[in-house]
């Protein structure tokens, strides 16, 4: 009788594990679903307006609001809000509305949100998306339904190569682009034998691939690879593999909590003193450095933007962002800011006429300007942004850990 009771209890736990695993995890902390930011609240009714010209132009933003990438989403959204605030939420004579949805780190859920934004909320364009597999799912939808889609973070190379679409433009980066020039630099400055490590998922593989292209074509050798699962708690076992391989340098891609844990443990396990750590710039990005503490000193990373970038455009941006949000911007905030500018300027060149969706997308492709991250323009061939890549090392300057730019790679194209 007692045994029966106990196994019944165990059964109950199992049921809960199954429920948690199947339903809850993808929605972890599923936050506020559809918050809307629109112009300063003046409620113009569009009922008797002529179609196309005075109706609000609706921008559907899909970003993570929960899970490990929640902060990235928040920063993206902040950057967009900031730019639209600067131009008074108006472009080409039309009011701009920003609708936001949580991508939930799940392709099916995000696709549903994209459909909702387009079909029931009547969004004119879609923007955002952090997770690449989600971006690819949405890409097929917008390609079939002719909705301009400005990718503002996801870096999967396929989006602007094999799966490029007339309706898809990318203002962010590709996973290979940010690492490619760093490969040659690593060979010339850190050594000929490198160990690579990144989370075991598509973006991780592509990030490392970009590095390898640059590094091996310069003559370097990869002496070991490790692919821990995304969200690994404990890198101890991988760090010991690295010690064993005795490389000249380690090249890593980690972001968010993964970057915090990896960099901390890299230092705790004593590797930092022996082997230089280089990687893509999420490793020592602004959003993770406070949590990494002293462990991040000396870590290098290449990215499309750095807080320390000494240009008038960037200084201005950083100062205004701090004033508005009370914290320093991140690379995602710049992506959001630039994405908003591309959308607004595109609408401006079309004089507010968004009736031809293909023209809306093509107008994006002609836009070029000097962003906080430096000069940017689109590659006409693949709709992919051409931009500078900056290599920054975290150094202690005036007693405070800061990223210092130690190399600038100019006008980098996606390395096909």
């Amino acid at each position: 009788m007692m045994i029966k009771l106990k196994s019944f209890k165990i059964g109950k736990i199992l049921l809960v594990i199954a429920i948690l695993g199947l339903i809850i995890l993808p929605l972890v902390g599923c936050g506020n679903g559809g918050s809307t930011n629109s112009s300063s609240g003046d409620n113009k009714s569009g009922s008797n307006a002529t179609v196309g010209s005075t109706e609000p132009f609706k921008v559907g933003l899909i970003i993570p609001k929960s899970n490990v990438y929640a902060t990235l989403g928040e920063n993206l959204s902040n950057g967009m809000t900031m730019y639209f605030d600067e131009i008074g939420w108006k472009a080409g004579g039309r009011e701009i509305q920003l609708l936001q949805e949580d991508e939930e780190n799940d392709a099916q859920a995000a696709l549903r949100k994209a459909k909702k934004l387009v079909e029931s909320d009547k969004s004119d364009v879609l923007v955002g998306v952090v997770n690449s597999s989600i971006a690819l799912a949405i890409r097929d939808y917008v390609d079939q339904n002719k909705v301009p889609f400005l990718v503002a973070h996801a870096g999967a190379v396929g989006l602007t190569r094999a799966k490029k679409s007339d309706y898809v433009y990318r203002i962010s980066f590709t996973n290979e682009q940010v690492n490619f020039p760093n490969g040659k630099w690593t060979y010339e400055n850190l050594g000929k034998k490198v160990f690579v490590i990144a989370p075991d998922y598509a973006a991780g593989k592509e990030q490392i691939n970009g590095f390898k292209k640059g590094f091996t074509s310069a003559g370097g050798t990869i002496v070991g690879e490790a692919w821990p699962p995304l969200g690994t708690n404990d890198y101890g076992s991988y760090l010991q593999q690295i010690t064993k391989a005795k490389p000249d340098a380690v090249y890593a891609f980690f972001a968010g909590t993964d970057a915090v844990r990896f960099v901390q443990q890299y230092s705790e396990f004593g590797l930092k003193k022996k082997i230089p750590l280089n990687g893509s710039g999420w490793l020592n990005a602004e959003d993770v450095r406070p949590a990494q503490g002293g462990a991040v000193e000396g870590v290098k990373g290449s990215l499309y933007w750095q807080l320390a970038l000494d240009t008038p455009e960037n200084k201005n941006f950083v100062e205004n962002y701090k004033k508005k949000f009370g914290k320093e911007p991140s690379g995602e905030a710049v992506e959001g800011y630039d994405a908003a500018r591309v959308i607004a300027e595109g609408l401006e060149t079309l004089k507010g006429d968004s009736s031809d969706k293909l023209k809306v997308a093509q107008a994006w492709g002609d836009i070029k300007f000097v962003s906080p991250r430096g000069p940017i323009e689109f590659d006409k061939e693949n709709h992919m942004i051409i931009q500078n890549i900056y290599l920054a090392e975290t150094q202690k300057i005036d007693g405070k850990l800061q990223n210092k730019i130690i190399a600038t790679f100019k006008n980098v194209k996606d390395p096909i």
């Binding site: 007692m2 045994i3 106990k6 196994s7 209890k9 165990i10 109950k12 736990i13 199992l14 809960v16 594990i17 948690l20 695993g21 809850i24 995890l25 972890v28 902390g29 936050g31 929960s66 899970n67 490990v68 929640a70 902060t71 928040e74 075991d200 490790a226 692919w227 821990p228 699962p229 969200g231 690994t232 708690n233 404990d234 101890g236 076992s237 991988y238 010991q240 593999q241 010690t243 064993k244 968010g256 909590t257 915090v260 844990r261 901390q264 443990q265 705790e268 396990f269 004593g270 590797l271 959003d287 993770v288 406070p290 949590a291 990494q292 503490g293």
Partner: protein
């Protein structure tokens, strides 16, 4: 000494450290479930609260040790209030009500933490005496993990002593076997439940603080760890802290060593162990003592 052997020894130490965190977390869960028959899905939230409260305490008082003591006690207080205010009402309303209630609470805490501390990632910084690294057998090993292993053993011993050698422990053991009988013996079973629930909260809070420097603090840490704690309870079985301890060590080691030997299948490995245990010994490897 052979290098690969010393690397293996380091992995085992790593696995033990992770196992200890799981033990602290799962001990409370198993205690509450075994005695009160409540599967507390807000247990992961207690873990998360412990870590975040410790973050604030450590920031204001600039003392990790105080945070390590105060944060679990505060979490214990929160769980005490919850038991008295909410759970008590639900006791005679069946399991579904309780699962929904504690699950709802988990979401409330998740949003509350995001609201108070934000969505950014934080970590706890241990004091200099237990941070940095040690050289053991030619390998470098983080000192803090050694501390976690020791802490785990000490708490495990204290809990074992409490359960096996004290009168309160005897009441709890009796409660796992037959609650009605315990009530019939004139023991205030409600008070026992309240204290057990609070103790569970303290343990979860403690594991949150202890995990802070290793795993970090971020929204979603609550649900992520809850699954592992549930698996530990299934593998170890109900009934005693010893069972949970065994389960936690097995899962901690399997997870860590699995990553070294079968990196592609490390998560699968844990579920495979759970499945095998369920087939061979459905009441858990060390459970079912009461039966």
């Amino acid at each position: 000494m052979n290098e690969s052997l010393s690397i293996l020894a380091m992995q085992v130490l790593n696995g033990l450290a992770y196992g200890m965190l799981l033990f602290l977390l799962a001990a409370g869960l198993s205690l509450i479930f075994g005695n009160m028959d409540i599967l507390n899905l807000a247990h992961g939230s207690f873990y998360m609260l412990g870590a975040y409260i410790a973050l604030s305490v450590a920031q204001y008082l600039d003392n990790f040790w105080l945070a390590l003591i105060l944060a679990p006690l505060l979490v214990g207080l929160i769980s005490l209030v919850l038991e008295l205010g909410l759970l008590r009402i639900s006791y005679n309303r069946g399991h579904l009500t309780q699962v929904l209630l504690t699950f709802g609470l988990a979401y409330v805490f998740n949003d509350l933490v995001r609201w108070i501390w934000g969505a950014a990632i934080h970590t706890l910084t241990p004091p200099a005496s237990i941070s940095g690294s040690l050289e053991i057998m030619g390998q470098t090993f983080p000192r803090y993990r050694v501390f976690v292993v020791l802490l785990g053993f000490v708490i495990a011993f204290l809990l074992w002593f409490f359960q096996e050698k004290t009168r309160w422990g005897a009441i709890i053991r009796a409660g796992v076997s037959d609650k009605e009988m315990v009530g019939g013996l004139g023991i205030n079973i409600h008070l026992v439940f309240t204290l057990i629930f609070a103790l569970g909260g303290v343990l979860a809070g403690l594991s949150g603080v202890a995990a802070g420097p290793i795993l970090g603090l971020y929204p979603g840490m609550d649900f992520e760890t809850l699954i592992f704690a549930l698996i530990v309870v299934v593998v170890g079985g109900l009934g005693s802290f010893t069972a949970t301890f065994g389960g936690a060590i097995i899962i901690g080691l399997a997870d860590t060593l699995g990553k070294v030997w079968f990196p592609e299948a490390s998560l699968f490995l844990i579920f495979a162990i759970m499945a095998v245990v369920l087939l061979v010994k459905p009441q858990g490897l060390f459970g079912g003592r009461a039966a």
